[in-house]
Symmetry: C3
Subunit: 160 residues, 3 copies
């Protein structure tokens, strides 16, 4: 893959909470900017952060019910104090006031810095999400073994 | 313990949410199937996943109150959209439709693959859970130092 | 920094839930007691655990709203069964009955054992928390790059 001197960082993005996901993306972009080979593995609720905008997912009854609640990177709220969307708006205001990058901006930075965005195939199957539902910058859906191979080589491994 | 060439994976299972625990077990079984020496350290809510079925825990008033809400691996619900148990049922249906292993099946796979299931002694004391309350495949309850020794040697360390 | 033989442990404390934070501090103090060079990086809700007691944070409207809900290490509740503070009280009782160290005691142990407590600068800016709001034992606020440098060298990396 790469020479042995390159440090690596591997992050599982399981959560769909705006704040936890943000923590994951900030570490990923920082690591990549510092020259680390970085990959993110999006599973369960984390898939929301690499979903296309305004796209309803799901085929069957349950999949569609899930699809209605499945947001994109701009629509997910924080883990605490969301107050029906108010928290999301408040945090965005506060971040803007401090010139902190928004989640969509962080994701774009990750892409520009070459962070590998890997969707979890099994979660996609269960949640009835197709590759077409995801942003084009994501890799092909991968199985758990691909994640484990990446993480085995990594100097930093996190589960967000 | 083992020769230096064997890669190792160490996962803390703190959460009692069906979906997070599932993420932990999928990574653990995948790692073990790929030949990694894998251990899981069950603490706080995570202990529910190695509890015997239909067994009430707790001695004192608080312990019994906790025991009433303490489920087994089949009874825990997802972190989002549980809707009073409906979500648990819906996710199980969706997983079955995709032939994805259930949590009890994943735990059995972990046992068959030799994943070490270590209960956290201190959590057990606080929550008034005895070794008899846990499945027989779990190891003796261990302290934090045993976990740290495992994790120190591990190539993948996660906190779920 | 240190010689190559010293093992290292690096923990991101993102959560503000009493139980998750406790998991983080127990691992950190255990690792430090076993001679590992240990650092904790406090970000988002985790900052509550290194905040001074009885100190209101925030300057602007949103910051002050957040400040009202922002607790200190003694005021945060568990992730499950808090029941408006009852759970916090119940867990404290149960821990005391087992002679398990409380969170403030665990933090003091961490300080005494030389665990580095690093506050995340960016979270502090967004949440309008100043260095004066934090306990004196915390280091200067640091950026993500400082965390990544620590984590790169660490044998155990966790995100709590």
């Amino acid at each position: 893959m790469s020479d042995n001197d390159t440090k690596k960082c591997s992050i599982v993005v399981f959560s769909g909470d705006m704040d936890r996901v943000m923590g994951g993306f900030i570490i990923a972009t920082t690591a990549a900017a510092m020259g680390m080979e970085t990959s993110m593995f999006f599973t369960f609720w984390g898939l929301q952060t690499i979903k296309k905008k305004n796209r309803l997912t799901g085929r069957g009854l349950f999949g569609r019910m899930l699809g209605v609640m499945f947001k994109d990177i701009d629509g997910i709220g924080p883990s605490k104090m969301n107050f029906g969307g108010m928290g999301r708006w408040m945090f965005k205001k506060m971040m803007k006031a401090q010139n902190v990058a928004t989640l969509p901006e962080l994701r774009q930075m990750a892409i520009d810095l070459g962070v590998k965005l890997m969707p979890c195939l099994m979660s996609m199957d269960v949640m009835e999400i197709t590759p077409d539902d995801l942003i084009e910058e994501a890799t092909e859906p991968v199985g758990g073994a691909t994640y484990v191979l990446e993480a085995q080589q990594a100097d930093i491994t996190l589960f967000v």
